[in-house]
């Protein structure tokens, strides 16, 4: 009969000497060091000690290099094709309704026609400010395409190397400026007027803002507030045509929104 197990009735005694005779941590450790797991561990150690700081420095260096390169490239105006097509399209659109000179007389006509379109039921003075973030969001989505509009017909956008005027700090900060500084006219709170004032102005070669006009009015108070905002806004970069700055008109919509506060809505 073949036994599965060898059954012994004596417990083998492990003496202290026997224990130390076979004890050899160094060899176990060497085997571990040469095993895949050990190699991986030491590689990881090396990475955390030496490689990651050097990678960080290299990344920083490369990004700085590209940043500097990009800055020097901009004035030379190797601009992407897609951008020309886009601005050419928007320019066509505008040229038709842009031929007439814009005067302040028009605003007065609009004053009456653009009175409250969507009056809200709740009227609480000052609550509109709570919706600054949503106003900002709407402003972003609505304004971006219109940003590209150009006023002066002598601008030939088909030519290579054209860049529209941009706020120095970028559009998000400009909208933030609007959202933070906009004062909803007190007198309009009762009527809870919401709407858009389109302001047009010229960004000169030097980046100065001039010829500010109202293109679409929403009443005198709103127009005045819009003009005040535009007067005080952060500086702009001039439009660049083939590397040289040029005068350029910009139409900028400013959205006034009146929202009842969520608190009153619940009740």
């Amino acid at each position: 009969m073949k036994y599965k197990y060898i059954i012994s009735n004596q417990r083998p005694v492990v003496s202290d000497e026997m224990g130390s005779e076979f004890m050899d941590f160094a060899s176990v450790y060497t085997r571990y060091k040469t095993s895949p797991a050990g190699i991986l561990h030491s590689v990881k150690n090396m990475i955390s000690r030496w490689l990651s700081p050097s990678i960080a420095i290299a990344t920083l260096g490369t990004s700085l290099y590209f940043l500097i390169q990009k800055e020097t490239e901009v004035p030379h105006g190797d601009k992407p094709l897609a951008k020309t097509v886009h601005s050419a399209e928007s320019d066509d659109q505008i040229s038709s309704d842009k031929i007439e000179p814009i005067t302040d007389d028009r605003n007065e006509d609009n004053d009456q026609t653009n009175q409250p379109e969507q009056p809200y039921q709740m009227e609480l003075p000052g609550v509109w400010r709570q919706d600054v973030s949503s106003a900002e969001k709407i402003a972003k989505t609505e304004k971006l395409p219109e940003k590209k509009k150009e006023g002066s017909p002598d601008m030939m956008v088909e030519e290579s190397g054209y860049f529209s005027p941009t706020p120095k700090d970028g559009f998000p900060l400009l909208y933030k400026y609007y959202a933070e500084n906009m004062k909803y006219p007190e007198s309009a709170v009762e009527d809870s007027i919401s709407g858009k004032v389109v302001v047009m102005f010229m960004v000169s070669k030097t980046g100065k803002i001039s010829n500010i006009t109202i293109r679409q009015s929403l009443g005198n108070e709103f127009d005045a507030e819009a003009l005040r905002l535009v007067h005080g806004m952060p500086p702009w970069n001039p439009a660049i045509m083939n590397g040289t700055p040029v005068d350029k008109y910009v139409a900028l919509p400013i959205t006034f929104e009146f929202h009842p506060s969520p608190f009153t809505e619940e009740e």
Partner: protein, 181 residues
Amino acid sequence: LSPTDHTDIGEEQLILSAQIDPARFEPLYQKYFRRTYSFVLHRVGDKETAADVTSKVFLQALINLKKFKFQGLPLSSWLFRIAINECNGYFRKRKAQRHVILDDHTLSSLFEVFEEHDTELEKKLRDCIQKLDREDVELLQLRFFESYRFKEIAEILDITENNAKVKIYRLIDKLRKLMQS
């Protein structure tokens, strides 16, 4: 060689530092070498083979040390789990026979369970053990020869404590039936 040792407070620290730098495993190696060596020796029955298998156990321990989570039980339970696996690997590879030790201590603790003691029974028991499968013999060894607590057995076999209890009661039942037949 008490299996019910209390874990040193410093052991957790040692394990944590060894997880960062495996070279710091040495104090743990020195602490547990003899116990692990004996554990293996009781199963493989040969001193040289036991030393070989034990070094493999510690190698595996070093490789897997990162996965070890300190749960209050001594590191030995975890080392013995690796030891059982390494022994199984050895038996499979060499087609070697397992050693089961049925010394007086084991017999007396078994007879305590069966509440009888005579030489006839001892003979019967030896035959019955031959009919058991590997897992049952493992449990028998852990519980009656090495006298581990259920909690430790559970940790070594990577099962729950309740499951360990159930398994051992079933094993006793099985042995009793085998011995009666």
